[in-house]
């Protein structure tokens, strides 16, 4: 099993299998963007052609990396990380907000 990887807000969890019903997500100017910076324009990005970002029906996202060489995850403010071939669930860091509470009015 591969190792879990974290780069800032992006957490990649190795999975045994990904859902059967899944669609590829189009690249943005040739790059897979796992998360965009809110203001800076910085991004957690992958350029390797061996990588594919996939989206399941519940909007869960998965990353598939084929071939032997793996891929590299880059970001302007974080060290680059090598991702081993395999399949990963893509998790974006979250913070609690009042809207998540049942006591709060939803906006």
């Amino acid at each position: 099993m591969n190792q879990p990887i974290r780069q800032g807000d992006v957490y990649l969890v190795p999975v045994d299998a990904i859902p059967a019903k899944i669609t590829p997500v189009a690249r943005d100017a040739g790059r897979i963007i796992l998360a965009y910076g809110e203001v800076t324009g910085h991004a957690h990005a992958i350029t390797a052609p061996e990588a594919t970002l996939l989206s399941a029906t519940d909007n869960a996202r998965f990353l598939r990396i084929v071939g032997a060489g793996g891929a590299t995850l880059t970001h302007e403010e974080h060290g680059a990380i090598a991702i081993a071939p395999g399949e990963y669930r893509v998790v974006i860091g979250r913070e609690w907000t009042d809207a998540m509470s049942a006591r709060q009015v939803i906006d």
Partner: protein, 345 residues
């Protein structure tokens, strides 16, 4: 002609019309607005108003309109009767009825859905663009002879802010100089008014929550725990806490250490705004070698809107994290067993 279904070309026009009207929001063109007023009066079969007054904000407009009404009543030349019923209401209803008869429900839903939602929000219902954009679309689809009587008020809406029509006078106001929104299009400005008019009047707002000016403009380091506790409106209190940030709030409020482990420190604050915050160390050091601390808010209540399951194993997550590890794992939708990043930057 009758519209029952939009052609692909017509559908493609919808975002164009929407964007045109979104752009309308910030510029005042007095000459165009006044020409529009004359056309609107003509459509209502009224002579053009003799007196044209311009003011600089909706607030000035509301006060000015009252004053103008009194003034007109005292002048021999006219009356302070407002004629917006004729200038706008009647014309709108006539056009509306005719257009309604000739446009199928599906088309209405489609045009309204795409045009109204965003335009209405962009100008905050302040101007007429919300409903005029609908008729602009209908006119563009070939029914312009029906919508023609609206041309005057459309022109005013394109060129000015709020306006008031009297039999012998018209009062128009300037548009805002600036409107700021957050990434979700909610009114939001962190250092001043989110909407500001030429006379300085405006609206202060934090992510869509309208707040008094001082909530936004008091420097963060002058906000005190007493000041937060003393704010009676719960929503405004939360805005204050968000504005000063978790780190300063932790320092101000009497935060209690819940747990400290290898992952960081978990703090709980009971009042004035209940909060649970985990303090973590950035894994990528700054250029000078030190590592930034950062702060994340985690659930402080068991009353949750959505159930939470670990993305790794499906186990349900603790409703309220009790350790720093549980807290940071929660922020990645994981249980502590599944949140074990071996490589991190």
């Amino acid at each position: 002609m009758r519209l029952d279904k939009l052609t692909p070309d017509q559908e493609a026009l919808l975002p164009v019309i929407r964007d045109e009207w979104l752009a309308v929001g910030l510029s005042t063109d007095r000459a165009r607005a006044e020409a529009g007023v004359r056309a609107a009066y003509a459509a209502a079969k009224l002579p053009p108003p003799a007196i044209v007054v311009w003011l600089e904000s909706p607030l000035q407009g509301v006060v000015g309109a009252e004053y103008l009404r009194l003034l007109l009543d005292r002048m021999a030349m006219g009356t302070g009767d407002q004629v917006e019923g004729q200038v706008e209401g009647q014309v709108r209803d006539q056009v509306g009825d005719q257009v309604w008869d000739q446009v199928g429900d599906q088309v209405w839903d489609q045009v309204w859905g795409q045009v109204r939602g965003q335009v209405g929000r962009a100008i905050w219902g302040q101007h007429e663009a919300g409903w005029l954009a609908y008729y602009a679309a209908i006119a563009r689809f070939g029914l312009s002879d029906l919508t023609h009587p609206l041309d005057g008020i459309t022109e005013v809406a394109r060129s000015a802010g709020w306006w008031w029509s009297f039999r012998d006078a018209v009062l128009l106001t300037e548009r805002p100089l600036r409107v700021q929104r957050d990434e979700r299009n909610r009114l939001h400005a962190e250092d001043g008014p989110a909407i500001v008019y030429p006379d300085g009047w405006g609206v202060w707002s934090w992510h869509g929550v309208r707040v008094p000016r001082e909530i936004i403009e008091t420097p963060a380091d002058q906000v005190t725990a007493e000041g937060i506790a003393g704010e009676s409106n719960v929503e405004v209190r939360r805005v204050l806490v968000e504005r000063i940030g978790a780190e300063r709030y932790l320092a101000l409020a009497k935060a209690k250490l819940v747990n400290r482990d290898d992952w960081g420190a978990l703090w709980a604050i009971a009042a004035p705004v209940p909060m649970r915050i985990v303090e973590l160390i950035n894994s990528t050091p700054e250029p000078d070698g030190h590592s930034k601390r950062y702060f994340l808010r985690v659930p402080e209540t068991r009353e949750r809107r959505d159930a939470d399951a670990c993305v790794g194993c499906g186990a349900s997550l603790a409703a309220v994290p009790g350790t720093a590890h549980q807290a940071v794992a929660w922020s990645y939708s994981s249980c502590t067993a599944c949140y074990v990043p071996v490589v991190q930057t």
